[in-house]
């Protein structure tokens, strides 16, 4: 009995940890969705590129903290550059063009990394602090990597909520997402906010990639996890940032528990079935207000 209980808690914890990563990617989706009214299909690639950037910087001899900052900032820069050079032109056009454009950019990023022979074959470890240690709490053993992921996600969520509530750019970004025309009339530089949204989205994705590293290692296909962030974002109502994070965590836990109960292999479809069910039953997301 106790043993079953312990297994349950361990699985719950690992679900929470992976759920935090889903939540971060979902955050980046929702951020882009709100600001640019488009679904980005390159978040997974940005996640992968960000993680690889940190690995490369670290291999080049940078200390870990500098490599982390450099990788995430680099991803943000990449997002901003892509917005300036390509994504900006989809504003005011159909959803289709933006979706295709992000997919094409994602292919370019992915192909670019695949073309590097070392990257396409290897799995890389990112030596985050405490990631390999195991903390004991009575009979429970808590892997440090999972605790780290949860702690950093909580920190990022707190920082983001402060940013959106108190900082000038954060408020401006929210105003743009709410109503771009009125925001422009109030003197908000809408185009710059658009760039900021993509940069933030890219940085969040890269951060998720770094946090994913202790769980799945850094490899070419780690970006596939971004597909699971779609259900997370939809569960949160697609327009709510806290909702996206909560949706991600919920999804991670449900998926982990489904792995306990359901037969091998079927847990991968659980997020998508949840998405379909959520749209059917709670079209506005759990607890979100329906605006339009």
């Amino acid at each position: 009995m106790l043993r079953a209980m312990l297994t349950f808690i361990q699985v719950l914890l690992s679900g929470l940890a992976i759920g935090c990563v889903y939540g971060l990617v979902a955050l980046s989706f929702v951020l882009v969705y709100k600001a640019a009214d488009t679904v980005s299909f390159m978040q997974g690639e940005l996640l992968m590129v960000g993680a690889f950037a940190v690995v490369v910087l670290q291999a080049a001899g940078w200390p870990l903290a500098a490599a982390l900052t450099g990788g995430v900032a680099g991803a943000a820069l990449l997002g901003a550059v892509l917005e300036r050079t390509a994504l900006r032109y989809t504003l005011g056009h159909s959803h289709l063009s933006a979706v295709l454009l992000t997919f094409g950019l994602g292919l370019m990023l992915r192909g670019g990394v695949t073309a590097v022979p070392a990257a396409s074959h290897g799995m890389f470890v990112l030596p985050l602090p405490w990631a390999d240690e195991v903390f004991r709490l009575g009979p429970l053993s808590l892997p440090g990597g999972q605790l780290l992921v949860m702690a950093i996600t909580a920190l990022v969520a707190a920082a983001l909520s402060l940013f959106f509530r108190y900082s000038r750019s954060g408020l401006a970004l929210r105003a743009c997402a709410e109503d771009a025309r009125s925001a422009a009339l109030m003197g908000v530089p809408v185009a710059r906010m658009h760039t900021l949204a993509w940069a933030l989205g890219a940085a969040l994705a890269a951060l998720a990639g770094v946090l994913l590293a202790p769980i799945t290692f850094v490899h070419l296909n780690m970006g596939f996890i971004a597909l699971k962030a779609f259900p997370a974002a939809v569960l949160g109502g697609l327009t709510s940032l806290p909702g996206a994070l909560a949706g991600g965590v919920f999804l991670g836990v449900v998926e982990a528990l489904a792995g306990l109960v359901l037969p091998e292999g079927s847990k991968d479809v659980v997020p998508y079935l949840l998405l379909l069910a959520a749209l059917l039953l709670f079209p506005a997301g759990f607890g979100a207000r329906r605006t339009a």
Binding site: F41, Y89, H93, S97, L100, L101, F103, L107, T114, S120
Partner: protein, 346 residues
């Protein structure tokens, strides 16, 4: 119609119905020239391609183009006519292909199993669009994407039925003792299939349903005010579009002769979207031109890569990156063209 007057809501549906033909001045010329120009060009291009590339290869590629175009017609109905977005059409193509393969394996003649494939695709379209039918817009993208990922997973895991990732062999198309084995026969069959699908879609566009789709695309509120049932009309687009795409998928299975789940993944869904985007989402002929580009681009990229020095491990990645670059360039090019013409994308 020379002066761009913002139409009143009551007129919107009417204008939308006419919107597929160009402005009044050009109507007469365009309606005579446009339907003829395409086939004429194709008729010229095919012998040329046969000369340049070898007959069998050119015919094989033309067959592939026609098959992609059929699948693309389904997307044209959904994206171009009804103005919704679909991100998982590859799964409906897969349903058609697998229905055909499985029924062929138990001995059904292709002509009998084709309707089943189409019906299965239509059912898939209904299920995929059901969760988002009252939300519309990008939510359709989400629900169809989720549906496609589920289908791909089921096709991979249910190996008792589909042999999983190992894939299935499909016999050649035929009926009554005759088999379409030669490239020429396959090309002719796919041409007939394309013509059938094309005529069905044309008929649809001119029906009450087709007008309702365009009305929704232009202005949902106005369409609803005209008595159009939004949810039902949108679902109809996904059901019929799914059926048409599955029809294309059934032929794809026969021509390729071997199907496995990963052929119908996200990549195919995006290729189909790309196809209608390039050809022009509003026109049926867009599917054909787009199919030509989508079939040709990877081949051109392969040729270009062979011409470049530096064979090796990275070449697969280079190919992917080039394909992505082509997509990005084409999308930006189209967007710029839209801007110059001052119209929105239809």
């Amino acid at each position: 119609m020379g002066v761009p007057v913002k139409p009143g809501r009551a007129e919107a549906a009417d204008i939308a119905a006419r919107n597929d033909s160009p402005a009044a001045a050009g109507i007469v010329r365009a309606s005579f020239c446009r339907p003829l120009a395409g086939p004429a060009l194709a008729a010229l291009a095919l012998p040329l391609a046969c000369l340049l590339l070898g007959t069998d290869y050119a015919l094989g590629q033309a067959t592939l183009v026609a098959t992609y175009a059929i699948a693309g017609l389904g997307v044209v109905l959904i994206v171009g006519q009804a103005g919704q977005i679909v991100l998982g059409q590859g799964a409906l193509v897969a349903l058609g292909a697998y229905a055909e393969a499985l029924l062929a394996a138990v001995g059904w003649p292709p002509l009998l199993s084709l309707p089943v494939a189409v019906a299965l695709g239509a059912c898939g379209g209904a299920i995929a669009s059901l969760p988002a039918r009252r939300l519309g817009g990008l939510y359709f993208g989400m629900s169809t994407l989720a549906f496609a990922l589920v289908v791909e997973e089921v096709l991979t895991r249910w190996s008792g039925l589909t042999q999983g990732a190992a894939g299935m062999l499909v016999p050649a198309f035929g009926g009554g003792g005759w088999r379409a084995q030669t490239p020429l026969a396959q090309f002719l069959v796919s041409l007939v299939a394309l013509a059938l699908a094309w005529m069905a879609c044309r008929r649809l566009l001119r029906s009450r349903l087709g007008r309702a789709w365009r009305a929704i695309r232009e202005d949902e509120a106005a369409a609803a005010a005209c008595g159009i049932d939004l949810a039902r009309t949108k679902s109809a687009a996904f059901i019929l579009g799914g059926g048409v795409s599955a029809f294309g998928g059934a032929f794809y299975a026969h021509w390729i002769g071997f199907i496995s789940p990963e052929q119908f993944g996200l990549m195919l869904s995006f290729e189909l979207l790309m196809l209608v985007f390039l050809g022009g989402v509003g026109r049926l002929s867009g599917a054909l031109w787009g199919a030509l580009v989508i079939v040709a681009v990877p081949q051109l990229i392969a040729v270009a890569r062979d011409a470049l020095p530096g064979e090796g491990v990275g070449s697969a990645g280079l190919e992917t990156a080039l394909f992505g670059a082509v997509i990005v360039a084409l999308v930006l090019w189209r967007l710029r063209g839209e801007k110059r013409r001052g119209g929105s994308l239809r």
